[in-house]
């Protein structure tokens, strides 16, 4: 990780020194353990603050839409998938974007860390590769990295950036096809069970819209939840049905566009299991259209392309 961090810095510095780009979007060391923070470097000196660690969890594609000038981004696999999807939507001009790709085998989920430590506060972290030492007031616990990764990272098959102008680190071996086990399990439940689960989960929602705002694909100038004429949806978080409706519509709007990056779930301060919903659509798009968002520059966007021979099974009543 440290070697990668150093190379990221160098690459960014060089781009800025050579005036190839005006801005490098990457991560700087965050203010909390296991936390990277999005950082915008505009000079070679500022590039010194760039880094790479297990806390670079945000999807930086979110900061790249409709940018002026030449921009470089330090992008892991999921960031690149979103970049590809956004390029197809004309939100990113690929010619003005320089991608510093970083193969990524996963970021650490601080919620899992919290659970493991039973609420004890981590003050320091030592990254030992396959294990991580979590230190706090009067304790030091060693945990397996694999047990702490975000679920989205565990499921992710595209840790290797699918497009890049420069690669830092080494490409990883391909992973096996994922099986969507948890989605299938959820689908197997009865309607009542699913409703009960959703109701419980979304009773926690405070309608802060961090999920929407963290998602690179949510960029409508006026989101349907904010619209007042007509008022599509109630504004109060006390109404769980509206909270679910908000998320359901959001998820449908990102069907075929969602790269399963997990940025929405990571952003949620209330720890709501949003990926269950986004993944359901990821699975459906895959099953129905054999498509995945942002895995190639050449694929057509699944839901934005008309084809006369579309299977359209949703139009057929069984």
């Amino acid at each position: 990780m440290q070697a990668i961090a150093a190379q990221v810095k160098e690459a960014a510095k060089k781009l800025l020194e050579d005036k190839k780009v005006d801005l490098v979007v990457g991560f700087a060391e965050g203010s909390l353990p296991l936390r990277g923070t999005p950082f915008f470097a505009r000079t070679p000196e500022e590039a010194n603050q760039l880094t790479w660690n297990r806390g670079c969890e945000n999807n930086l594609a979110n900061f790249l839409r409709k940018r002026e000038g030449k921009v470089a981004v330090v992008a892991k696999g999921c960031d690149v998938r979103s970049i590809v999807a956004l390029t197809k939507e004309n939100q990113i001009d690929r010619d003005n974007l320089y991608i510093i790709g970083v193969p990524c085998d996963g970021m650490v989920d601080r919620k899992k860390v919290g659970k493991l430590l039973g609420g004890k506060e981590v003050l320091e972290v030592v990254d030992q590769g396959d294990t991580i030492v979590l230190k706090g007031n009067g304790f030091a616990e060693t945990a397996k990295l694999a047990d702490l990764l975000h679920n989205s990272c565990i499921d992710c098959r595209y840790g290797n950036p699918v497009v890049y102008d420069e690669l830092i680190g080494t490409l990883m071996p391909e992973k096996a096809e994922e099986d969507f086990a948890e989605i299938k399990a959820f689908e197997a439940k009865t309607t009542a069970e699913r409703r009960a689960f959703m109701t419980e989960e979304f009773s926690k929602c405070i309608r802060c819209y961090a999920c929407r705002n963290a998602c690179p694909m949510c960029y409508c100038t006026e989101c349907f939840v904010d619209c007042s004429q007509p008022e599509w949806i109630g504004k109060s978080a006390a109404n769980v049905q509206d909270n679910i409706l908000f998320q359901a519509v959001r998820v449908f709007h990102s069907a075929g566009r969602c790269a399963d990056c997990g940025a929405c779930e990571r952003a949620c301060p209330m720890g709501i299991n949003l990926r269950l919903l986004t993944r359901k659509l990821v699975k459906d798009v895959k099953v129905l259209f054999n498509a995945e968002a942002g895995v190639s520059m050449d694929d057509k966007a699944a839901m934005a392309t008309f084809a006369a021979d579309d299977p359209e099974p949703f139009l057929v009543k069984e």
């Binding site: 936390r35 945000n58 705002n213």
Partner: protein, 339 residues
Amino acid sequence: MIVSKKDIPNLLDKMIAEYEVIAPVKKDNFTVFKPVASGTDAVVGEGNTKLPAKELFFPQSEKLFSYSVTEEGTKLEAPMDDKKKVLFGVRPCDARSLKLLDNVFDNDKFQDPYYLTRRENTVMVGIGCNSPASTCFCTSVNSGPFDTSGLDLLLVDTGDAYVVELITEKGKALADQAGLTAASDADKTAAAAAKEAAVVTCQVNTDGLKAKLDVNFYDPIWERIHEKCLGCGACTYLCPTCHCFDIVDDAVDCTGCRVRNWDSCAFPLFTLHGSGHNPRTSNKERYRNRIMHKFKYFVDNFNEIGCVGCGRCIKNCPVNMDIRVVLENIRGSEARLDS
């Protein structure tokens, strides 16, 4: 006075007979304030709750009144929550946040009856912080882990028991009613020692901050500070001193309710004029407003910083926008985040 830790459920049960008792309860990975049916439901002494105590006085969504407009006339009914309540196990920062909010909801011209009725009828039982979190900076904003402002009683953890300090008459009455016994000198010494031992490691230097904010509204630094901010409502909704709200109707034809919901200056619609003009066009202006409000406007208006240093915004921001770092950048001084 004193109460042993194992007697806390008992004590709460006694209170439950007379009051609605609100205490932290477990929810997934975190705790939230909830009315408890039994003393054993309460988890006293954990870190700060996910949502701040403000929600108990100024709920995220609240009915202001219901109405019906018919041939017979117009009927308005405003519910007032005047239940006698005890808020048990609140941290000093949250208690203090309510003192700050009192300035807003009881301002020089108007009173908010919903908030003030609840305030009046609630006894605040706080618990001091023996081990402040690394994100707590209460001592930097004129408070501290055993600050009693806003509290009626303060519990100090001495290991097996809590030494109970009587802060107000209201608190004393509750303590008497609950039949608490007197603390011995040894207990008092232990409490003093616990207070002594609690260190807030994180310091945010606010010297000269206000003077800077007085003059830096147009400073280019604001162009950079907000850059990574997503403009979501997480920090404002979870902040114990944020008080912004929207008022909407929830109605079918003319029978319905007027409701207020939390709102946030981070949202673009917050200030959008009917004409389409928006005085805060971008995230820059909106994030600046948040900082200005807490560290300048609040000070100008009420002579207090509008932040109690609870650290919720730090822990919950999806992009690690750390208010301590922001303030430090604004002051242009060196890091003192020696946590």
